[in-house]
Symmetry: D2
Subunit: 368 residues, 4 copies
């Protein structure tokens, strides 16, 4: 396999180049009988699409998705068969890319794709485009709907840092997506949101880009999801997040902060709240030994500044000749963070839904 | 599958509980004809084993490994068939664990294993024990030998941070394992090593534990390894590292630092060194678009302080009754970092060897 | 996973219900740089489609396929990324199926799908329709083109038996597809072809159906393809063929005939033809120990008579009430064999192409 | 992966060469909490082992299996972690194989292994030895115990044909293993058993071998097991059986006989027996559309005569020189059929147990 599939039981395969006929996804393993969440998919795709506001790329794609298979026409429910969803590519202006056919853009995937495959889809960056994530977001919306309806799980991500600005006082236990979407930059701390917007605007003005950090919570995950060894929830989530374009770091719970603590400062004491066993703190971020413990899962992902900047840079051509390069005016976000919010939610949902289904049938007392 | 296997083409499956008959590993997909690296395996297992010095658990296990299959008795070469290696458990003192049968130790996997499986191997922590990593280290030594012999790849990890102490001036481009092993704590900065040792000794004296950060480099990886979407090298490495016991965070290249940079500060300009296309800086950590670009791969992993501390803590019994708990004197490291060095090297090698083999046969011009 | 994917390295996933929006396939793992064989795909789809002549279902579908992804627009070559092909469903007359919504048709999948999923796509039989094989045939044409261009492999299948008529004197070593297609029934023995056609016509006249046997050869497969244990070529081919609708039996080489022989009658003596090691007979059907030996691969597949017959039969409704049932006039082949020829060729190609790619990189002497 | 694993959820990996240190198996995905069936495993291994009587190879191996992992030492129950079982090789007389180091034995895997891997384990045939099936039989016994305890499934195989002798009047609906084991040849038709024994004795006397056919039934499989497309029960069973050494053909239900029938003769009418929907005939062999329908699953497997015969044959050396070859007196069965009975039962159990577990969690109405 070539790494275009993700998940064991709720398994998705994405396809499509940025400027090809379509991009899309197949979900294999979606349980049968689920009312298909058209509306939720449309909402998350809308949060992901470019052209939402001045912070994101002006490429205009309605991103209307077509479901080609997997639904019962009579009931609208899932059949338990593969669900193929795709979005046609409409506003691809390949002419914009003539200048990059012969030049390796710094910190893009042009050089590495050529090194691997011997050729690449030059226009739009092919599979390395963030457009590939449309399929992830669409499938992730199905996953989060299953999780919400069948297990009561809620997933919310937000922009926690842009450049030098970090949000303060965000309460992951109560945060809603409406609160996140209250600001264009998707940071629920209004003061920080303003400063982040200013940082992004400044970067754009400088023909530059800027990085940042997303945080995400998953609330309501019951104890017992996750495999003990290689497919720990921590491992699955880390792999999922680090597969997103521009992701450079991942944390669960206290993350790097845990490295500075002693065990007596980091351990989460157990207690009983009258209903079930809980922990009184949640430094573990909801995962112990790779398995959920019933507390809120807390994670963070750092994204680098996007590689496309409209400044002149040193680079080489395909044959290695040094050149100075500045892209012709294309359409790119100076900061991917706001649009990455639904991507991180989608990857979280895909991991959790997969482990939800992997939990089924693993105990003889539940198989009789 | 239950998450006990790792890798697509160089695929390992680990088995064994800490206090069962044996722990071990099967490698499936090791290429045929490779002289089996008994010595390298023994060395890395020796670096991993407890009881090396006063910094690590006094559990004494010779960790002598037996190869049950996969080798040609005549030539000592790999047959291309599954290689089963195992280490018998000898010094398991299960009596030490009587006190934990009924109590959920804070931030251990006792509770989550019970929540998942309905029962667990109580003595020694079963699969959640670091003893599970023996199989990873043994298989990783085979992987790194293949990488070294067939592709010229070198992997070196070191302890970069313990608690509040961070190493300075380590040069990943030239660092050797001998330099790393010069100090008991496996930090090549001698001054930092001394301070780290003091931090660990202080934690032990306080019946406490302490966390830290490992860094690792892989030198000599050619351009073109890694899949473009879900199995990016970044994703595979992140999943690999976050599957290690106590891992809490992962970075590639600049990691979280990249979040604070602008594109003009983070992009790596391309150049040509007369032999091949290079970058003049390496903020990408050797990976662009998920694929290696021929520069040194640089990663970091944060580990929490180990959960076992010999202090009294609040917790509950299996039925949820609050109790105060202090473990009877067992055998545990106050800091896992020094012994985690060969584990991080092993996981790096397993990822790279898998992607080395996945690279074979993906281009028609190489299949004729 | 839910069994909609096939292959390890040349991996296909089919999707689509017979009367949904589209049916199609994703190929993941097609090597990069291959000129895409549009024409070959169209030819094989044309041999598969209904309405070719009076022997097959009159459903008229042009079966024009659209490639949504995976090709370089400049060179027309494969990019090494997922190739999504689909065919829109046009002539679906779902009204024909009103009568089967409440009734379980004998020996169809209506009852078993309901038992498994709790619901099913009633019109057209959903995934159990032979229309699902469009994706297999399209992907199989890509596979056989790779095999032909890169390894010199040729695959030819033919109808060897229909009901009581069996072909005589067919020489698998020289047979061409043109010879096969010379008769409507795709049997290269002209006399048998005539008798088979008569049997099919008689079955149709009796509102009945009839079964048969296909044979297939793959010429030019070099020695060394196939895995030694569970993924023997014999096993992969058997699983592939028995996944086709209506397949009931599979043979390699002498098949059931081998059960009656002694070793001295069945063994194939080795010889050397001046170029390479050969066998003087080929009772093994080109596979020994699960691995190809360089001789022609010979297999057979038996198909049952299709379940749809226009006669009244005993059955029950979904709630178990006995009824007499005769389908309204729908569109079905009285004999699937002629249209199954490209399906068997496709499954053979998919297996062989997968094992061709699995052969890459398994020996250290070929990895340097 | 290299084809040493089988199954999706109840996944086994076998390892070990015939004359290496050990042969064995890892089961990954065995549900937690099952009382481990030591006795059943020992019984099936005993039915598989050589040296049972004069019909089988005189190699004497007690085949005592050791469980290295996966069991709770306190309760003896499965932990839900990998179960490693192995059998040490004791009576390997590698000297017997000196004569075959340089010669390709006709219809053995010597030549094809060399063609694939460039080297092979010469003594004992390595992985191509029937000794590899020890792991399958041990794991299959665990699978059939789970099926029996949790789902009420019973599996019985028997020898139905040896050479020219075929059993008559065997009733698969009531047959027991005791009835099968009543004769040395494992044929429940006493008269046929006698004739088969004579055929085998005659073959041995002639320094020859003889082939045959096994049949197998699985009773009590509920409706709804099996995936609809590539992992149909028919496909999974066919792949499983054809992965056994010397298997050459496979049938489900009427098999090749179905090719001669009309639909009106082959269709199974549905009825209702007061409890559940049934069919009045079972030509489908319990599987429709790839999914179990609640009737008895009926299959057959043909085995070729074993390749080892003690007669002089034409062959070549590794470098292609023609030679006459007769093996030194080794230890081989003139007919594998009696010992293949537990192998076919094991593969049937492995397929069914895997599909039993794959059935869990596929419907939303069962996930709440």
């Amino acid at each position: 396999m070539s790494g275009n599939s993700f998940g064991e039981r709720f398994r998705i395969t994405t396809f499509g180049e940025s400027h090809g006929g379509a991009v899309g996804v197949i979900i294999d393993g979606c349980p049968a009988g689920h009312p298909f969440p058209h509306e939720r998919i449309a909402q998350q795709l809308d949060r992901r699409r470019p052209g939402q506001n001045r912070l994101s790329s002006p490429r205009r794609e309605p991103d209307a998705f077509i479901v080609q298979s997997g639904l019962d026409p009579d009931s609208g429910r899932t059949l338990g068969t593969p669900i193929c969803m795709l979005v046609h590519n409409k506003d691809a202006r390949s002419g914009h890319y003539n200048d990059v056919a012969a030049v390796y853009r710094p910190s893009h995937a042009d050089f590495t794709y050529d090194a691997r495959f011997g050729l690449r889809a030059i226009a739009g960056g092919g599979r390395s485009s963030a457009r590939e994530t449309i399929g992830r977001v669409a499938a992730g919306a199905v996953a989060e709907d299953l999780l919400a309806q069948l297990a009561g799980v809620e997933i919310v991500a937000w922009v926690d840092q842009v450049g030098s600005t970090t949000a303060q006082g965000v309460d992951g236990e109560s945060l809603t997506r409406d609160q996140v979407d209250a600001s264009m930059v998707r940071c629920p701390d209004a003061a920080a949101a303003e400063a982040m917007t200013a940082e992004i605007d400044a970067a754009r003005k400088d023909a530059d880009s800027v990085g940042g950090v997303l945080r995400c919570v998953a609330r309501g995950v019951p104890a017992g999801w996750g495999e003990p060894v290689f497919d720990k929830l921590t491992a699955s989530l880390a792999g999922a997040m680090m597969s997103l374009p521009a992701a450079r770091a991942f944390e669960i719970g206290e993350g790097f902060g845990a490295a500075q603590l002693r065990g007596s400062q980091h351990n989460d004491p157990f207690t009983h709240d009258g209903q079930r066993i809980r922990t009184t703190t949640n430094r573990s971020g909801g995962i112990q030994g790779g398995i959920s413990n019933g507390e809120t899962i807390r994670l963070a992902v750092a994204f680098k500044p996007v590689a496309t900047i409209f400044r002149e840079q040193d680079t080489v051509t395909r044959d290695g000749t040094p050149v100075r390069f500045r892209p012709a005016k294309g359409r790119h976000d100076p900061c991917v963070l706001p649009r990455a919010v639904p991507m991180v939610e989608a990857m979280t949902a895909l991991v959790l839904c997969d482990h939800f289904l992997r939990r089924a049938g693993i105990r003889t007392d539940e198989l009789r």
